[in-house]
């Protein structure tokens, strides 16, 4: 998966409607949309698309979308 598409997928999961554009450097912890529903959706996304097994608590401890991309390997 290309990096642009990965970012789009994460935006879909977050259903982000904020003013600022989301980038790989956006801090997830600062976003209201990064809630438990988004986190479990991301766990399932990383598993289904990349075969990466992470837990909810793993994702509660990461900072940026770049960190997610690193887990996915994109």
């Amino acid at each position: 998966m290309k990096r642009e598409k990965f970012l789009e997928k994460i935006k879909d999961i977050l259903q982000y409607k904020g003013d600022k554009d989301l980038t790989y450097n956006s801090n997830l912890i600062d976003l209201d949309e990064w809630d438990s529903l988004s986190i479990i959706s991301t766990v399932a996304f990383l598993d289904s698309e990349f075969g990466k097994k992470v837990t909810v608590s793993d994702l509660q401890n990461i900072d940026t979308i770049e960190d997610l991309a690193r887990i996915a390997g994109v």
């Binding site: 438990s36 479990i40 399932a44 598993d47 909810v56 608590s57």
Partner: protein
């Protein structure tokens, strides 16, 4: 390895009962501070919408009505019931076991074993397993009552776990039949996460004291659920348990007529379907959407809700799987061969 195959045990009938009081997530004023957008997002992802909750009636009242319906429709001689199992985390009393209360109300014979087993989400499979063991140790007819009223574990005005649980009761008759098709079970447990879904007060570790009811921190029976840990548990454990069972039974996914899963939530069931490589449509979520997560009763209620006509007319090989509080996860492959199965009946006050 905790996998088993039983002969001689036939499921003869199922009856289910739900309370009348319906609540809808769209009308829960305190949920997410009334944030409509967030509520809609939760409804879309989890699949929850409506649920039924008990008032004064208890789980045993729902199970009693289900049992009476089953006795009537199977034309059962109650003196032939050798064992009564009540599977629930919401008993009538701390002592005695609720199965004795039901033994009286059902007017069963003294030649009967009464047993309560506290289990919820995997309770139906564990109950069938226990019933099959009893049949293979000499019992001829076992009445299995599985139900819960988890709405009572939450103060619905304060607790966010409240809106997902619906209450229900079920009755299933398992009887000796030397020609019955084999039943297969795979049962797993992990106490390390016993506190991932817990109601801490009211037992003897944290006994109830005079001033405990409605302290500042809330309702005495409030349960806590660590949704993240429960989600991780389901993602990691349920599909492998089912794959092991299919291998053990030498049955392939295509041989299974119906998958009936504990109605945990839509998102979890979709992910289990994906991991098993089966079409998500094969795992129904209709029961959770209309009646909530009914804990141990969610599987018999789903059979009543969507399969009652099919199981009455056909021979259906079904894979049942339940998972949750304990943590406990258990799957079973059973055959329903033209059995009596009620629709989801509404509770009638005595």
């Amino acid at each position: 390895m905790v996998k088993f195959a039983f002969r001689n045990s036939k499921i003869a009938g199922i009856s289910t009962v739900i309370p009348n009081n319906e609540r809808c997530l769209l009308n829960e004023p305190n949920l997410y501070g009334g944030n409509k957008e967030k509520i809609n997002r939760v409804i879309n992802s989890s699949g929850f919408l409506k649920r039924r909750i008990t008032g004064k009636e208890t789980t045993s009242d729902l199970c009693l009505q289900a049992a009476n319906d089953l006795i009537k429709n199977l034309n059962l001689n109650i003196n032939e019931i050798d064992a009564l199992l009540f599977i629930s985390y919401t008993p009538d009393y701390l002592m005695p076991a609720t199965s004795y209360v039901l033994h009286k109300k059902l007017k069963l014979s003294q030649n009967c074993i009464c047993m309560d087993i506290p289990q919820a989400c995997s309770g139906y499979e564990l109950g069938l397993y226990q019933a099959a063991m009893l049949i293979n140790s000499g019992c001829k007819k076992v009445l299995l009552l599985v139900g819960d009223s988890f709405s009572k574990f939450s103060d619905m005005f304060k607790n966010n776990t409240a809106p997902v649980f619906g209450d229900a009761g079920s009755a299933t008759l398992i009887e000796y039949d030397k020609d019955a098709e084999k039943m297969f079970f795979n049962i797993n447990s992990d106490g390390n996460d016993f506190d991932a879904l817990i109601c801490e007060n009211g037992g003897f570790r944290n006994p109830v004291k005079k001033n405990d009811f409605y302290k500042d921190e809330g309702y005495i029976y409030n349960s806590r659920m660590d949704g993240g840990r429960i989600f991780d548990f389901t993602m990691n454990n349920v599909a492998p348990n089912i794959e092991d069972l299919l291998n053990y039974a030498r049955i392939s996914v295509s041989d299974i007529d119906e998958f009936v899963f504990h109605q945990a939530n839509k998102f979890i069931l979709e992910n289990i379907a994906r991991k098993l490589n089966i079409e998500p449509e094969r795992i129904s979520t209709k029961t959770l959407t209309n009646f909530g997560n009914q804990c141990g009763a969610s599987i018999p209620c789903t059979i009543s809700n969507i399969l009652s006509e099919k199981v009455a007319k056909q021979n259906l090989k079904c894979l049942l799987s339940g998972f949750g509080v304990g943590l406990s996860w258990a799957s079973a492959i059973v055959t329903f061969d033209k059995i009596y199965c009620s629709k989801l009946n509404n509770y009638k006050e005595e």
